[in-house]
Symmetry: C2
Subunit: 343 residues, 2 copies
DNA sequence: GCAAAATCTTTACACGGGTAAATAATTAAT
DNA sequence: ATTAATTATTTACCCGTGTAAAGATTTTGC
């Protein structure tokens, strides 16, 4: 316990009998001092509870132990989970993650990078908006700070990228849907804010072509991040007008699918895989909620933890090697099919 | 644009023709300098993009412009929304919010307060776990930093508190349920992590007594934050065993209700208010998702923005008056009934 | 036990900006 | 225009830590 308060490192040096430069080294990296001194310091640390001033510490250090994490929208459970997973991976490596949400607003993304700059982060993990991101801001940032992209890519920026192989995952679920019932239609936003949406559409078209089946794409108008709302209102119209030529709808993501489920419910349509059902609905992402929808949602689970781990590992490698990785390398992880009762 | 990089305030003083102490004043509060000088500085700021070093700034300042925000779990959409609302209110007042999640872990809450201490925040807004919170840690923290509690209270800590009047809100929904159908049973967790749960139970008992009706409380075993899962698995058992004496279930919160809806679906029970339905289910909180459940969930909406605004206002008042408000004042806001089709 | 290597102490200066006091310049009031 | 009040400049020192250099001490290897 603390016997009298220590104001600064100088005072702590006095009471601990260790010189200030040595203490400075210790707090930077406890392994950098001899074991016997380390023990002496730790003992003193028990007695007097002193902690170096973060601001003074970071003032002169070239690089802090801060890692910035920027996601498009923390209110979206998907990004919440990604953010959390990455955060944990950083803590495990002894860094201090700073998680920021761009709140669905691309210009906030640039602002977030700007704020992070002021914190002199050792590196940054960014889940960008994609095409909506301010490319030149991100590119400029990447010149100054080690940057790794996750979930979505921004073309033409020399930066490692880790995400899900949408081509594989969509092919997988299309295959499943074809084998287990009728041909899937594809439901998506007309102007998706996420570039993965485009890849998924392309993958759908590609899959249908491989099967020699006709592709049917239906696009919902709507802006913003209220995907469930858009999925429901436009889905309601489309279902009511019976525009879908088959009874299976593959939604570009789970949030749209959740809206579509709600629309189907409102119209009294029975959704499900079994006999006696009017409609099958499937999604993509394994949204934390999709286990609890009625019926539970058949979907694709992304391998969050693999993405996070690899991204963090690559970032730390870039930080430690002090080289900027401008290879625009791309690492994709497979999605897993999660069969539930909605399709 | 920047013509040559400015390294520090000294250099910026040179190129702008303003003395460093005046610049220091300006960056602390731009209104504190004469209009003509302010304009000269802003003009120079356009030309040379200089920003003071945050670390050096905060090192000596008694109080930073940082506001800590701690919520129990950002993955819970309810707290996500509270956090976001409070965050916005802080930004509007010119402060820098730092949003931290305790990830469902009370000891993480103490850790978060600890990390915040190092950042010398001007004040902290805490949505605590309640009884699970480490009371002495919070109390100690409140001695050093202006603190305002939201959502949940911790007894015996002299701190303003803002939350929803559970007594009013439960009375309201019980009244509605009684008038619109059969008497509600109450479904909750046996060992709730949130103190509001206890207030809600008490309010339910109280309401039933006022109506002269028999109260029926059913408690689900289970730990952790997987409320939907607990609601579903225990709800499934209870529904299957037909333990509920009436066909109306009021759940302690929306997440449990969502689980219960899922359980009902699994058993083929028709949930809803209309005729031909087997069961009515209602919740509390107006979870962002409850609009999209099947059927949409009847619930109580908390007045987030009023809570956030008042809490922030009170905090800033405490900060500016430099007095610690130890009044343990309590301000409760009314919940609003949201009638949807589940009950 | 001795030299070489590793580690620590001492000293000294740097970092970038807060802030106080005395002085100078500007603005407002008469 | 003169004086008083306000605001800016100059000077100087402070904050708490990083870090480099030189010398002292301890540890290691043989």
């Amino acid at each position: 316990m603390s016997r009298g308060k220590i104001r600064n490192m100088e005072e702590f040096a006095k009471v601990s009998g260790i010189s200030r430069p040595t203490l400075s080294k210790f707090f930077h990296d406890s392994e950098s001092v001899r074991k016997s001194t380390r023990e002496r310091i730790e003992k003193a640390l028990d007695e007097y509870d002193y902690r170096p001033n973060v601001y003074a510490m970071n003032q002169n250090r070239r690089t802090t132990r801060n890692i910035g994490i920027v996601v498009p929208n923390l209110a979206d459970p998907f990004f919440n989970e990604i953010g959390r997973t990455v955060e944990l991976a950083c803590i495990k490596e002894g860094y201090s993650p700073i998680l920021l949400s761009s709140h669905g607003n691309p210009s906030q993304e640039s602002d977030n990078l700007d704020s992070l700059r002021a914190l002199k982060p050792a590196g940054v993990l960014l889940a960008p908006f994609g095409r909506a991101s301010n490319k030149s801001d991100v590119a400029k940032f990447a010149k100054d700070v080690p940057l790794v992209l996750i979930d979505a890519k921004i073309d033409g920026i020399g930066t490692p990228y880790f995400g899900t192989d949408n081509n594989q995952s969509i092919r997988l679920i299309v295959e499943y849907l074809c084998r287990s019932g009728s041909t899937p239609c594809f439901f998506e936003m007309k102007t998706p804010s996420n570039p993965n949406a485009n890849k998924r559409r392309a993958a759908y078209l590609n899959s249908m072509e491989r099967h020699g089946l006709p592709a049917h794409i239906f696009q919902a108008e709507g802006d913003g991040w209220d995907f469930e709302d858009i999925g429901r209102s436009r889905g309601h119209e489309m279902l009511a007008e019976q525009v879908f030529p088959t009874n299976t709808i593959l939604c570009s993501n789970d949030r749209l699918a959740i809206g579509m489920l709600s629309a189907a419910y409102g119209l009294g349509l029975r959704v499900g895989h079994g006999s006696g059902c009017d409609l099958r609905i499937a999604g993509h992402d394994d949204h934390p909620f999709s286990r609890f929808t009625c019926p539970p949602l058949t979907t694709i689970a992304q391998d969050y933890s693999a993405i996070a781990q690899q991204a963090v590992k690559t970032l730390f490698h870039a930080i430690e090697s002090e080289k900027r990785d401008t290879s625009q390398s791309e690492t994709l992880f497979e999605g897993k099919l999660v069969m539930r009762s909605s399709a």
